[in-house]
């Protein structure tokens, strides 16, 4: 696969898209872990929802 005289423009475009998509995935995954950890921390200290169900319960 020869990219010709504008290879740097093509490679930079793909690298940038990959980087931004990766940042989005990592950011969402870290956010999920952080919020869940904080919820568990609060629940284990005795703070509960009015319904009595855990904040991360799926039922």
């Amino acid at each position: 696969m020869a990219l010709g005289p504008y290879a740097s423009f093509i490679v930079t475009s793909y690298a940038l898209v990959a980087a931004v998509v990766l940042i989005l995935i990592v950011w969402i995954a870290i956010d999920h872990r952080r919020v869940r950890a904080r919820l568990h921390e609060l629940e284990s200290s005795g703070v509960a929802r009015r319904s009595g169900r855990g904040a991360t319960d799926l039922t």
Binding site: A2, L16, H32, L42, A55
Partner: protein, 245 residues
């Protein structure tokens, strides 16, 4: 499962948690196929190998507008139907839409330098997409600035619906004004003017990026629901009477 049943955040969380791994796998496979097809696509007789930038630029450009469309529908849900997940959907979509718009601008610019001889031109299409990017940033700032989520939701919904005027302007800017940006070549009356060797990888990448958006959006919505539960628990904790010695 109906939309009304999905209005229950717990039910939504359960559904999202079940389908997210499958969506991620399908997205990954489709992205790999799309990237392979993009790499194997022939050079264009005018653009040469830079046509490969189109396989990532066009899906990002489509999604920049589609995500604002999703946010506009969600804003109607907030203002008209007061759907409990509408505001969550809009807020979770904004950073993802901003990222796609940023990528559309930058990849377009990187294609423009070798093809047009300039990274940037203040023509109608480029300027209206830049305005869309700034509107995404404005919305994100608004959600961060207003502490009460319901007040922020209403203000953001109004701003989103006003901003939706920009979407047809972006779409038809190449027809209404004389622009450097080429007119539509995929979705137009009389069918696409693209050869199959370019059209197929482009469509595969477009579907793959759309699935990527759905996957990221569901995951971000799940985070936002949990964040609101966290806020509720923090307020409950703060309102607990403190035992004096």
């Amino acid at each position: 499962m109906t939309l009304t049943e999905l209005a229950n955040p717990t039910r939504f969380l359960s559904l999202a948690t079940r389908i997210l791994p499958w969506l991620a796998i399908v997205t990954g496979v489709l992205l790999a196929i799309g990237l392979y097809q993009s790499a194997m696509a022939p050079d264009d007789y005018q653009q040469g190998a830079t046509v490969k930038i189109m396989f990532i630029h066009v899906p990002n450009a489509w999604l920049s507008m589609f995500v604002w469309g999703v946010m506009s529908v969600a804003s109607l849900g907030t203002l008209v139907w007061r759907h409990p997940l509408a505001d969550v959907a809009a807020k979770a979509a904004a950073p993802i839409g901003a990222a796609f718009t940023f990528l559309a601008l930058v990849t377009g610019s990187l294609w423009g330098r070798p093809m047009w001889g300039t990274y940037w031109e203040w023509d109608a299409r480029l300027t209206s997409v830049l305005i869309l990017f700034l509107m995404y940033l404005g919305l994100i700032a608004l959600w961060r600035a207003v502490e009460d989520p319901s007040r922020a939701a209403r203000a953001a919904a109004v701003l989103t619906l006003v901003g939706a005027i920009n979407i047809p302007i972006i779409k038809f800017s190449v027809d209404w004004w004389n622009t450097l940006h080429q007119p539509a070549s995929v979705m137009k009356m009389g069918g696409s003017s693209l050869d199959k060797s370019f059209l197929i990888p482009l469509l595969v990448m477009a579907v793959a990026f759309s699935l990527l958006f759905i996957t990221l959006h569901l995951a971000a919505m799940r985070n936002e629901i949990l964040r609101r539960r966290l806020r509720t628990l923090q307020m409950l904790q703060a309102s607990k009477p403190v035992a004096l010695p």
